[in-house]
């Protein structure tokens, strides 16, 4: 039924394996589906949060810009600076210190003043020169052209990313006499600040080509930040691109967004959130789920085992009982008080055992009524009338003067004595392979070579006859000891082709042999009654020839059987008187033990 993989010696193992594999497959797929859904959800959630984080970044930039613009507007209307400008020659040293004052007031990292054409006049940063102020000039030009009250953008100052702001110096508004330039850097501190607000890893990178990809500012370690710079996609949509990146041992959902720069390749802001951190609550849930799944698996195994045991244990019990029945023990009954199929099986088994016991009893009885060989023959063949011709040695024995003796004894005593005699004789006959055909009163008709053919049937019959004679001597000694009369018998043996088979009616059969040979055996037994022959055992010429003792035996001449014209030679078998057995020290027999 099952593939070799699922073939197990034990039913419980198979049930366990099937239940567990099905359950495990179902649970595992559920678990995997949930895990995957969790991850997809986490990524989607992080994506939406990153989109918000970018807005926070822009809001933070806008806020700072507005703060500096408003501050610059305030200081640009300052009296002292106008006083400075009133002088015929602008005092640049004083102007610079004025810038320092203003920078301190606004907490502006970079503060510079430009004339109306964008030439730098003074700055708080010595590293800033008129040449390196290109981005500021660009902003001033653009603002002037468009009449803007301010202008700002991302740009590089001394190779560092800054947000640059220009505000006109009015005297009075809208009469522009110069420009203020303010810048604040997008540096590690800015990134850390943003991280504090958004809980997001922040990295700013520059350039698009391999040799210009560099980290401008980051909250990450330098190695990881460079990895971020290297992994940045070359093309970016204005609203950025989200990807899952492996960094170190952690996975991050990473948003790359472009920062347009003044006349340069755009820089990048990279916002990252750890996927593992986001997944942590889901992971805890998954772990709980895993525990529940394992518990379910274990429970299912236990239940499957219990069920399997509930099936296999009674089956094993049944198997054990079956072995006992096979060995011939029909006395056991299985006690399985169950209503299910196994209970039914047990009941059926008990019925079967009972049936077998019944049959065995019948068979036993049959073996007692007929000889075991005949019983076997009867049981093996499909009982039917008819027989076959075969060579059989027939032995006839008969007790001498038993009728007279039975008149002197009580009937029960007669039966007891007869049974004792018949049992003894039958045992000897069977020991020699003979089959009791029937008891006819005190007479025994036995067959050698039927129903089972025997090559040495005649010799066996003769040996049986001799043993019977010996046994009778022993029995007579016992009887004498008991004060009972001794017994004497005569035996006739003939070997002939007869018909053997079942005879009788359709409902009642008898296995026996019929033919002249049977009659001759009976006739030979009768001849032993003639004292002239001086023997208890007479065998026919056929038997003697079969035994090969023709010459050794004493010939009694020929007899003519009734209804037959041909005479048959007969021989006497002489038996030596047996010595007394040494053990039962009984009195010597009063009567001659042999013959009468």
């Amino acid at each position: 039924m099952a593939s070799p993989l699922l073939r197990f010696r034990r039913f419980s193992t198979r049930l366990l394996v099937i239940v567990l594999s099905l359950l495990a497959a179902a649970l595992l797929s559920t678990y995997l589906l949930v895990t995957r859904a969790n991850q997809t959800n986490a990524i989607a959630h992080i994506e939406s949060r990153l989109a918000g984080d970018v807005k926070v970044f822009w809001a933070s930039i806008d806020f700072r810009k507005r703060f500096f613009v408003e501050g610059a507007k305030v200081v640009s209307r300052d009296w002292p600076i106008r006083t400075l400008y009133l002088q015929p020659q602008l005092d640049l040293k004083t102007l610079r210190t004025t810038m320092e004052s203003y920078a301190a007031r606004l907490n502006a990292p970079v503060f510079a003043t430009f004339d109306v054409d964008g030439a730098m006049l003074a700055t708080t940063n010595d590293s800033l020169t008129n040449d390196s102020c290109g981005p500021f000039r660009h902003l001033i030009q653009k603002a002037d052209e468009n009449g803007w009250e301010q202008n700002s953008d991302f740009g590089y100052l001394a190779e560092k990313l800054h947000v640059l702001i220009v505000v006109p110096l009015y005297a009075p508004e809208p009469n522009i006499i110069g420009w203020f330039g303010i810048a604040f850097p997008i540096d590690d501190r800015f990134a850390r600040d943003l991280k504090e607000t958004t809980q997001t890893e922040v990295t700013f990178t520059s350039g698009l080509t391999e040799d210009t990809k560099r980290v401008l500012a980051t909250t990450l370690s330098p190695g990881l930040a460079q990895q971020v710079a290297d992994q940045a996609p070359a093309e970016l949509k204005p609203d950025g691109q989200v990807m899952v990146t492996n960094m170190g041992s952690d996975r991050y959902v990473t948003l790359y967004a472009p920062l347009e720069l003044l006349a340069e390749d755009p820089a990048r802001i990279t916002l990252q959130r750890s996927l593992e951190t986001e997944l942590a609550p889901a992971r805890r849930l998954e772990q709980t789920m895993l525990f529940i799944l394992l518990a379910a698996l274990i429970t299912a195994s236990l239940i499957a085992l219990a069920v399997a045991r509930g099936v296999s244990q009674p089956l094993q019990q049944l198997a054990g009982h079956t072995e006992l029945v096979a060995a011939g023990d029909y006395t056991r009954r299985i006690a399985l008080p169950r209503e299910d199929e196994i209970g039914q099986l047990a009941t059926a088994f008990n019925h079967m055992t009972a049936g077998l016991a019944e049959r065995d009893r019948v068979r036993d009885l049959l073996g007692k009524v007929v000889s075991p060989e005949i019983a076997t023959q009867l049981l093996q063949s499909d009982l039917k009338l008819g027989g076959e011709e075969r060579e059989v040695t027939i032995l006839f024995s008969d007790l001498r003067d038993f009728t007279g003796m039975s008149e002197r004894l009580a009937p029960t005593e007669v039966l007891t004595l007869l049974n004792r005699y018949l049992d003894r004789m039958s045992t000897i006959i069977e020991k020699h392979g003979g089959v009791i055909d029937k008891y006819i009163g005190d007479a025994i008709m036995a067959l050698f070579g039927a129903p089972v053919a025997l090559p040495d049937a005649a010799a066996r019959a003769l040996a049986a006859a001799r043993d019977m004679a010996d046994s009778l001597q022993d029995m007579n000694r016992e009887l004498e000891a008991e004060g009972k009369p001794a017994l004497a018998f005569g035996i006739g043996i003939n070997t002939a082709r007869v018909v053997a088979g079942n005879m009788g009616s359709q409902t009642r059969l008898n296995y026996t042999v019929i033919g002249d040979g049977v009659n001759l055996a009976s006739r030979l037994e009768t001849m032993t009654k003639d004292p002239a022959h001086r023997t208890n055992i007479i065998i026919s010429e056929a038997t003697a020839r079969a035994v090969g003792e023709e010459g050794k035996l004493r010939s009694l001449g020929a007899v003519t059987v009734k209804g037959k014209t041909e005479a048959v030679k007969v021989f006497a078998v002489d038996i030596q008187p047996r010595p007394w057995p040494t053990r039962p020290q009984a009195r010597p027999p009063t009567n001659p033990p042999y013959g009468a």
Partner: protein
């Protein structure tokens, strides 16, 4: 109003005194959308003879209701301009323009200060106290000039001869210049088109009520 009338009279008398054969140029100034432009200055700078010296009466730029009055003033170089404070608060008038850098430190209502403007050019006036106060003083090298009215019209009387016409307005980046020849007894009329920048004067009333939030 009175000062403007006085000024016009002055110009007229000056013109009649210099050249008997004077004539007029009526300039009509429109912006690029075709609308009349007021407060534009049309000045005629003589090309053939030197301009006559400035007339006696001074110019005036007053401070009133925390505004300069008038918004645009034209004077010939060498003219004295009076700055009377007709307000209820103090003012601190200054200019950082190249034509004349000066300041008139805080002075009280009722006081008046005066300055002579020798160099030609534009003088942008402000007040250090009131950011929104602004006035323009155009110092020109000629007595022949006029300011456009609400209809964008300015009529300048000058002797016949060749002139460079300069048309200026606070909202142009550079003055419009043309050459013109005026013939005696023959009134000329010219249309001038100016490209104006947006008006970026501060609206009074300070910050918005929301405190900067949109």
């Amino acid at each position: 109003m009175r000062s403007r009338l006085l000024f016009a009279l002055l110009v007229l008398t000056a013109a009649t005194r210099v050249a008997a054969a004077s004539t007029t140029l009526t300039g009509t100034v429109r912006d690029n959308k075709g609308a009349f432009v007021s407060d534009a200055v049309v000045s005629l700078i003589p090309l053939d003879q030197p301009a006559p010296p400035p007339a006696e009466p001074p110019g005036e730029i007053a401070q009133q209701t925390q505004e300069f009055l008038p918004y645009v003033t034209v004077v010939q170089a060498g003219t004295k301009v009076v700055f009377p404070n007709r307000d209820t608060v103090q003012h601190h008038v200054y200019s950082l323009s190249k034509a004349k850098k000066f300041e008139l430190p805080l002075y009280n209502p009722g006081q008046k200060e005066s300055l002579v403007f020798e160099s030609t050019g534009l003088v942008t006036l402000g007040c250090n106290i009131h950011d929104w106060m602004i006035a323009y003083l155009l110092v020109v090298p000629t007595p022949y000039f006029a300011k456009t009215d609400e209809q964008g019209r300015a009529t300048v009387t000058a002797p016949a001869g060749r002139y460079r016409v300069e048309v200026w307005h606070p909202r142009v980046s550079a003055a419009l210049t043309q050459e013109i020849a005026l013939t005696a007894g023959e009134a000329s009329a010219r249309d001038f088109g100016l490209t104006l920048k947006p008006d970026r004067r501060i609206r009074r009333g300070g910050a918005t009520k929301t405190g900067g939030y949109r």
